[in-house]
């Protein structure tokens, strides 16, 4: 199936001018499927970790948002056990003027600013609210345990 020009251009630009701390590489056999790596932002509990995600551009992209999921286990109030992400721009606030680059930046920003008031993982959010310090420590532990750079 022919790939829309937009996806080709986005991919080219991602390759030519990569975002610092983020990489997205399309699969050779399916150019709509990307292997993504996001470096945990500095001064966050995820610092030093490299998180793997999968990103898929559905058939009606960019009219509908990309489908993105964390593959690396992560302790975060807005990311659940299955790696699903609670982020408005991936759902109701998606706009076709957004792109893979901006979405990945938003996810990186979400790592830097967990939002326990709009949780996806209720237990994590609860921990975060009751004992933030401990929660942050758990997030650190998980980062070094599961997201150690290869």
């Amino acid at each position: 199936m022919a790939l829309p020009k937009r996806i080709i251009k986005e991919t080219e630009r991602l390759m030519a001018e990569p975002v610092p701390g983020i990489s997205a590489v399309p699969h050779e056999d399916n150019l709509r499927y990307f292997d993504v790596k996001i470096h945990g932002p500095s001064q966050s509990p995820y610092e030093g970790g490299v998180f793997k995600l999968e990103l898929f551009l559905p058939d009606d992209y960019p009219m509908t948002p990309p489908k993105i999921r964390f593959l690396t286990k992560i302790y975060h109030p807005n990311i659940d056990k299955l790696g699903r992400i609670c982020l408005d721009v991936l759902k109701s606030n998606w706009s076709p003027a957004l792109q893979i680059r901006t979405i990945l930046l938003s996810i990186q920003a979400l790592l830097g600013a967990p939002n326990p008031d709009d949780p996806l993982a209720n237990d994590v959010a609860q921990d975060w609210k009751t004992d933030e310090k401990a929660a942050i420590q758990t997030a650190r532990d998980w980062t070094s345990k599961y997201a150690a750079p290869e």
């Binding site: 199936m1 251009k9 058939d59 009606d60 009219m63 706009s95 076709p96 003027a97």
Partner: protein, 569 residues
């Protein structure tokens, strides 16, 4: 001194330059071998068309290059300062939002409508283009020193829209044409001339080089135009498709997209993709004018790219991929010659139906493969492999972009290969047709000849129940049809609810044509679609009628109609 004077090529109504003209010429030649490639289409020339090029970015009101350009809902652009003072709009109570309480009267003579202030925002694309042009010019200035040329404004006639009638007399005293010596070749000099306010929007320019060698500085113009082209075209990419804007439409919030892109956006949401403001425009964009200036700029600067885009769009809009040329709608069961009524609300099918309406108005209708049965060579698909082509007869567009469509079935088909396009399915299909009449006759003769003559008598529930399948097989084709017609008459006499007038209004009276009767019968009969689906792969009238008689036999076997109130089988 070598005198070199000429008048810039005139293209007064450059604002009206449309793609259609451009495409018409390219299409005209595309039929034979001497096919015009998009590269053959040449844009405006930096030297010869310098005046026209500058006009593309001049405000028709103040004649200066745009300063904070606003594109009005009518598609025309003006500087913000050139718009009349907003006034309070009278007698309007809906929607009465603050941004709509004031309006400006459109200064464009052909429009003159009242535009609400909320729909007159700064044209972001045009502003960026003006910035790009300023940047290029600033960089270019030092390189163009000491290349003097005398520019003279040439007015052919008084401006039609510049004066009000009562000021007629004043306007007769047209100010003297202005002239100025400027550097940088025709294009840069003309732009500067306009910036100085010396060049009326409709005036032409006479050029006279002051170079002792008679140099007309042609290469200078070409150089700066190349730079303009490069930096301007960056701003002319649509933020949805990442292609050069094709038929640009500017939203009331000042953001511009390809018309087709914006229509698709509106299938999904009513917000601007860039600023997320609600777009107060009907989703079809049917009455939304294109951005005239951007359109002219595109055609003037890169007609080759515009033509290439037009070709690509045309291909896209066929809604097909190569040989996979039939859009397929997986939804329900349709039959040849029978109507199908659909409510189109999913964005992907809105797009599909829109494309069909612009093309041959047909698409294939397939049923869901609910039981997950393997579909021949296709394997286990989510749809059943046989379907019916539907032609759209009537469309009722709803204000929010949904639509109700009435279709009529044309031919039956089988899906050979398929893929996805923009969320819906496209496929390559093979038409399913009945065998020839001779073959039809041969089959009937063969099947009925083994029958004893007595068995060709009208069947009764009693004798059918003896050995029904054999019996049905031995009935003449004519008898099979009569059996079906009689069944309907009997059911009508019994006031079967599925033969209610409402249903007959939709599907009509039973057709006389035996080839079509089974389709009609299937449309009205209250049995499972999976049963009815069997008709789609038949290749003879006789085969279909036998299916019908077998349904009747089963229904009569259940004797549900004899006084029972049960209506579902």
């Amino acid at each position: 001194m070598n005198l070199l004077e000429s008048v810039g090529f005139s293209l007064i109504d450059s604002e009206e330059l449309s793609y259609d003209e451009l495409l018409a010429s390219s299409r005209f030649m595309s039929g034979d071998e001497a096919r015009v490639t998009s590269q053959d289409i040449v844009g405006l020339d930096a030297h010869e068309d310098a005046r026209t090029l500058v006009r593309l970015i001049q405000c028709s009101k103040c004649s200066l290059p745009f300063r904070i350009p606003i594109t009005l809902p009518c598609g025309h652009s003006h500087c913000r300062d050139c718009l009349p003072q907003p006034h309070h709009r009278e007698n309007i109570s809906y929607p009465n939002t603050p941004d709509r309480r004031h309006g400006v009267v459109c200064p464009v003579q052909t429009c003159q409508r009242e535009h609400p202030v909320g729909e007159c925002d700064v044209d972001v694309t045009l502003s960026k283009i003006m910035e790009a042009i300023t940047d290029v010019t600033a960089e270019y200035q030092p390189a163009s020193e000491d290349t003097p040329m005398l520019l003279e404004e040439i007015k052919h006639y008084p401006r039609a829209d510049s004066v009000l009638p009562e000021k007629e007399e004043d306007s007769m005293e047209t100010p003297e044409p202005r002239s100025q010596v400027l550097n940088g070749g025709r294009l840069a000099a003309t732009l500067r001339f306009a910036q100085m306010g010396f060049l009326d929007f409709e005036a032409e320019v006479g050029y006279q080089t002051l170079s002792k060698e008679g140099d007309d500085y042609r290469p200078l113009g070409e150089r700066i135009l190349t730079q303009f082209r490069e930096s301007v075209s960056k701003e002319l990419d649509c933020q949805v498709c990442y292609n050069l804007m094709y038929d640009p439409v500017t939203t009331p919030c000042g953001h511009t997209f390809c018309r087709k892109c914006l229509v698709r956006v509106l299938d999904h949401s009513s917000h601007c993709p860039i600023c997320r403001r609600t777009l107060p425009i009907p989703p079809s964009l049917d009455r939304q004018p294109s951005n005239q200036r951007l359109k002219s700029l595109l055609v003037g600067l890169c007609p080759d790219l515009v033509a290439a885009r037009a070709e690509a769009v045309e291909q896209e809009e066929r809604g097909t991929i190569g040989e996979l040329d039939v859009p397929l709608f997986v939804c329900t069961l349709g039959f040849p010659s029978m109507p199908t009524f659909l409510h189109i609300f999913e964005p992907r099918y809105r797009l599909m139906i829109r494309r069909a309406l612009e093309g041959n108005r047909t698409f294939g209708m397939l049923m869901y493969n609910r039981a997950g049965q393997p579909q021949g060579d296709l394997g286990n698909t989510h749809f059943l492999q046989y379907g019916t082509m539907l032609r759209i007869l009537n469309v009722q567009m709803l204000p929010d972009g949904r639509s109700l469509i009435e279709c009529i079935g044309t031919t039956r088909f089988k899906v050979l290969r398929w893929s996805q396009l923009d969320g819906y399915i496209v496929g390559s299909v093979e038409r399913i047709e009945d065998v020839s009449l001779a073959e039809e006759e041969r089959i009937e003769a063969e099947e009925t000849s083994v029958a004893a003559p007595a068995l060709n008598a009208p069947p009764t529930p009693d004798n059918i129940s003896i050995d029904p399948s054999v019996l049905v097989n031995r009935l003449s084709t004519r008898r099979l049809l009569i059996h079906g017609v009689e069944f309907i008459e009997k059911m009508r006499a019994n006031s079967a609810p599925w033969l209610h007038q409402r249903i007959l209004d939709a599907y009509g009276q039973p057709p006389d044509d035996p080839a079509l009767f089974p389709y009609w019968f299937a449309c009205v009969l209250p049995i499972a679609d999976e049963e009815k689906y069997l008709l789609l792969s038949t290749t003879s009238v006789r085969e279909r009628l036998k299916i019908v008689v077998n349904w009747i036999r089963r229904i009569e076997g259940q004797r549900w109609y004899a006084g029972s109130s049960c209506t579902v089988l």
